[in-house]
Subunit: 624 residues, 2 copies
């Protein structure tokens, strides 16, 4: 082990308590698959019995999707300097198509590794990187197309089902038929369905062979809608321990993948710490680091530097790369008349390069070379939308849609190499122009997964862009977007702190879930139903625990009614003890049960019914 600085180790050791503590009211469970090393994590929320007044029945525990890895597992030991257990290592080795290298093969990676000045921040427990053996293709898409159901695919099938097959309670299964706009929503996700979707390119499983710590997950329109959180330091802020803490914090609030957008120094070392401790796939934008290697001068970028950066990051275990290969020279002048020009960092770097050299984007001309790298490590493409609109005014313009067509062309090339591919999308788009984005993406890109930033539905609310964009994200998720890249309240203003990350993720978990409900995803409504039943029955603790943020729900409740007794009170703070519509509803229900004829002939015997009801006490709250 290297001589990691005591300070960094200390920081790592005391990863804030609030980042790793278990989530209230629930416990980590693992559902075993066809072999004992397929152990799919879920979070099981225990529910109280229904009060006798409302029927007294048991309420089965509800399993929900869980991205938090071992960090919320009370039985797990966390040591950031060791990294997580490599749960997929055996599956990768078993396939026999990869080999451990003697060391990093990128020039940059080797230079960093041998730089003694970096010892104090270097992750000490790095294992040797792996790579495909002599030209082999090790992508999940390649296996899928050969008809192989990998352990990763089985893991995902179990994970996506969230134990729906075990739900027997009628109220939990009650669900509105959705509107899915031509998606292929299944009743139960089978491993074979996962394989088929990956084979067709309609879904991707981002899991680099050098990130065996990751828990397999899938991004595709026929699966649960996913959310991504961006972290990363910049010249202005942040350190390594802080970034790892942001990673864990992001997963706690439901990030399905995390993008490390660091641009400061020590990118390489920070990334290593992040990947080694991440159970979720990690994405990056390699051009950011490549640009740093040429001191920020875009025109000095070239294929060799970029290629070395790809290999450097692939050997660390990055699961997907944003590649702005669709920013073609001919599209660049189309942005000149925009209100906000090119707002994507990667897009503007490539635009500048294209103009400086008056040559076609080297990411485009070297696209097949990139594919060769991707398939040797199973890194997925996230084809970047470098020309996405940065304002309502620029939405759906020629530059944006021109690039999208090129991304479609590149998708076909990636698929020729069996390289998994998703497509990035806008941006800023008013509501009525969102569906056109989805429809065009599906048509141009052969149903490859769409991965959108928002979109923001208005420009006028800096400080609240998690909301302006959650509106667009929910809609485009419904229309078919597979993963939503979160936006925090700090968007356009500054770097998000921990609270901003939480706010952004909550807004996006809402958007993703609202999308799943609208698409009619199987079992999506079970959690809503469980929540609503708990609400109706005044099971306050269950309401908190079933929510996306149990801690905040409890805190808000306690602000008005702090006493513990109020947690079991059959009223709530909004209306007080004498004035509760839920209680009156229970009277209606009792009445309908006792007088089934009221459902048939309400005209009959009005006077006598009235007398009966009054005789029963006509009390808002009757003792059982």
């Amino acid at each position: 082990m290297n001589a990691v600085a005591t300070e960094l180790l200390q920081q790592a050791e005391k990863l804030s308590a609030d980042v790793v503590r278990p989530i209230p009211g629930s416990r980590k469970i693992h559902v075993e698959g066809s072999r004992p090393d397929i152990r799919v994590p879920m979070r099981e929320i225990a529910l109280a019995r229904t009060p006798t007044l409302f029927g007294g029945e048991e309420n089965a525990a509800l399993a929900v999707y869980d991205c938090t890895g071992p960090y919320t597992d009370e039985t797990a030991t966390i040591d950031l300097s060791t990294g997580l257990a490599p749960l997929r290592a055996r599956w990768i080795e078993e396939r026999g198509d990869t080999e451990a290298l003697h060391g990093l093969t990128s020039e940059f990676g080797r230079a960093r590794e041998h730089d003694a000045k970096l010892a104090h921040i270097r992750f000490g427990n790095r294992v040797l990187p792996r790579r495909a053996i002599g030209g082999a293709n090790v992508t999940q898409m390649h296996y899928a197309r050969k008809g192989i159901v990998t352990p990763e695919m089985e893991f995902i099938a179990i994970r996506e089902n969230q134990r729906i097959e075990s739900i027997r309670e009628a109220h939990l299964l009650r669900q509105h038929p959705g509107e899915n706009f031509g998606a292929s929503i299944q009743k139960i996700i089978t491993p074979e369905f996962v394989r088929d979707e990956v084979a067709r390119g309609r879904a991707i499983i981002p899991n680099n062979i050098n990130h065996p710590e990751s828990e397999p997950m899938i991004i595709g329109r026929n699966f649960l809608t996913k959310v991504n959180a961006n972290i990363g330091n910049s010249a202005v802020s942040s350190g390594i321990a802080e970034e790892v803490e942001k990673l864990v914090w992001s997963m706690r609030w439901g990030a399905d993948t995390v993008m490390d957008l660091s641009t400061g120094k020590h990118i390489h070392e920070t990334r290593e710490w992040i990947i080694r401790n991440s159970p979720v796939p990690i994405g990056t934008v390699p051009i950011y680091q490549a640009l740093e290697k040429v001191d920020g001068r875009a025109e000095e970028l070239n294929w060799e530097i970029f290629r070395d950066t790809l290999i450097e990051q692939a050997e660390q275990g990055v699961d997907y790369f944003t590649i702005h290969a669709g920013v073609l020279l001919r599209y660049v002048p189309l942005t000149a008349g925009r209100v906000t020009g090119i707002v994507s960092r990667g897009g503007s770097i490539m635009a500048k390069w294209c103009l400086a050299h008056h040559k076609e984007n080297f990411l485009y001309t070297h696209f097949e070379d990139i594919c060769e790298i991707m398939k040797a490590y199973d890194v997925a493409f996230s084809l970047g939308d470098g020309l996405r609109p940065g304002s309502i005014a620029d939405a759906n313009d020629a530059a944006q849609f021109g690039e999208l067509e090129t991304l479609g062309e590149l998708t076909k090339i990636a698929w020729k190499h069996d390289v998994q591919t998703m497509i990035e999308g806008p941006g800023h788009v008013p509501m009525h122009m969102i569906k056109e984005n989805m429809d065009k993406q599906l048509a141009e890109c052969g149903e490859a997964p769409f991965y959108t930033l928002g979109p923001l539905t208005t420009d006028i609310a800096p400080g609240y862009d998690h909301i302006t964009s959650a509106i667009g994200a929910a809609m485009i998720g419904w229309f078919g977007t597979a993963m939503l890249c979160y936006v925090t309240p700090k968007e356009h203003l500054g770097l998000p702190n921990k609270q901003d990350v939480r706010e952004g993720l909550m807004a996006y978990k809402i958007a993703a879930h609202a999308a799943d409900l609208a698409k009619g995803h199987p079992g999506a409504q079970a959690r809503d139903n469980a929540m609503s039943k708990a609400r109706f029955e005044f099971r306050w603790e269950d309401q908190f625990n079933l929510g996306l943020d149990p801690e905040r729900a409890r805190e808000y409740h306690d602000e008005t009614l702090p006493k513990d007794a109020h947690k079991s009170a059959h009223f709530c703070s909004m209306c007080g003890p004498h004035f509760c519509s839920m209680k009156i509803t229970q009277d209606v229900r009792d009445y309908a049960k006792e007088h089934p004829e009221s459902l048939i002939d309400i005209e009959k015997g009005m006077a006598e019914k009235s007398a009966e009801f009054r005789a029963l006490g006509a009390e808002v709250y009757r003792k059982a």
Copy 2:
């Protein structure tokens, strides 16, 4: 003047500084109409000149809609114990169809007025209430149908246009054509159009003749989408001064109307303080107070008590009443199978009454009697959706839609009396079932304005229901809802405090504006365009000031880059000084301008262009 308690007066005097201070970067202006007493308030946001680097042009000040009355006017004197100036008093008197009464005519109102024990909390500057002379109809709808354009209508036309006719800058006028689903969106709002919409019942102007302090505003699908904030104390919380402060605070954040949902004691006195100090229309749910008059026993409610309550509140100046006249006896048992039964307070009160008496809802049987009261004061109906769904599971069910049909029937009756009417809507609805609500409302209720609570698009996020519902609100606003009732983060958990009110309103101002953009409301995009231009040009102060919440935008910016110099920095905190896509875009723009041929033939002369660009410096940031 009565002997108002010193304590209350002191509280009123020190209405918190943050509630009344001017909004940063802008000033109150008034646009005069055809007569000098038509002075329409707007808020004018001053903008800085574009930096020379980007062109150096002037940026015209932007006028935005302003609900804050005199509270943000530096030149105004605020004295809550006096109340606001009655700006409409002359218009009302001029019409000659109303008279000042000798005193309150409701029994309850008189009793309160003569109760010496209430002197310490009574508003001291009450004027005599007015009422229509002998059966006259004094509603704006009545005037509209007679072809009269009232000063209120002209005021509204000027207000809705937000001075769009004075905008000459091309970038501000740039706007995407909207999708309005059959609405009649105008290019310019004329007083005649306002009259016509009110006459047809497609819009309402809630302005009771006893609330002459109110600034006229309109609620209708062909006008700007409005938002409502609920305030009100309950048995558990709040006092008079606190409620008035909440009123002012709500308007500060953009509440177009405010509903006073108080249920505690001193409802009557609190309401008087609120109305006398409110420039926005005030709505109430009279059944809440009626219920208190019978000590919370719903079955003891009767028409006489309710009638007296309506008159009591109409003579105070309430501008619209939520009336749950659509909760028919035959619909009540339809809710028995719901997951969350009846969640509307008013709905459950009336359901209980119907069951207890086994009689039809007295609000329904007395509906024409209610119309007689409404038209004598010009109180508008907000026909309550007492059977709205309280969970995703219960959305769009037979009870909800049965009631909606009855509300349509009642709308026609109200219109027969020329009584202005809007319709309340859900509630909890998954995204794909929202449009059905709007379509059915338009069809059943003859295009009377729809006024919805959210809808919440999922049940699983207590603590974040301002977001779950802003998604639904934006969508239903786009589809045609005229006013959105806000939901705060405390929904389902507790009573909102001031910060919650702000969060709820910001989410709803976003939803309303996103809806206006999507509908293609004239000029709606001007503020987005101004913001985006300021963003592109690094005019930080302008970005803050153009936002819905200038204070928060500035605060968030300053968290990362606190120095004043950074406010004029041509970079932002996200990427640091060396890495800014906006700057690179400016290079692209300069290039396209200098090389117009690049837009035509990008293949030509690649090598020489490249050399030229490099020769220019290829600098990210060039001194002008």
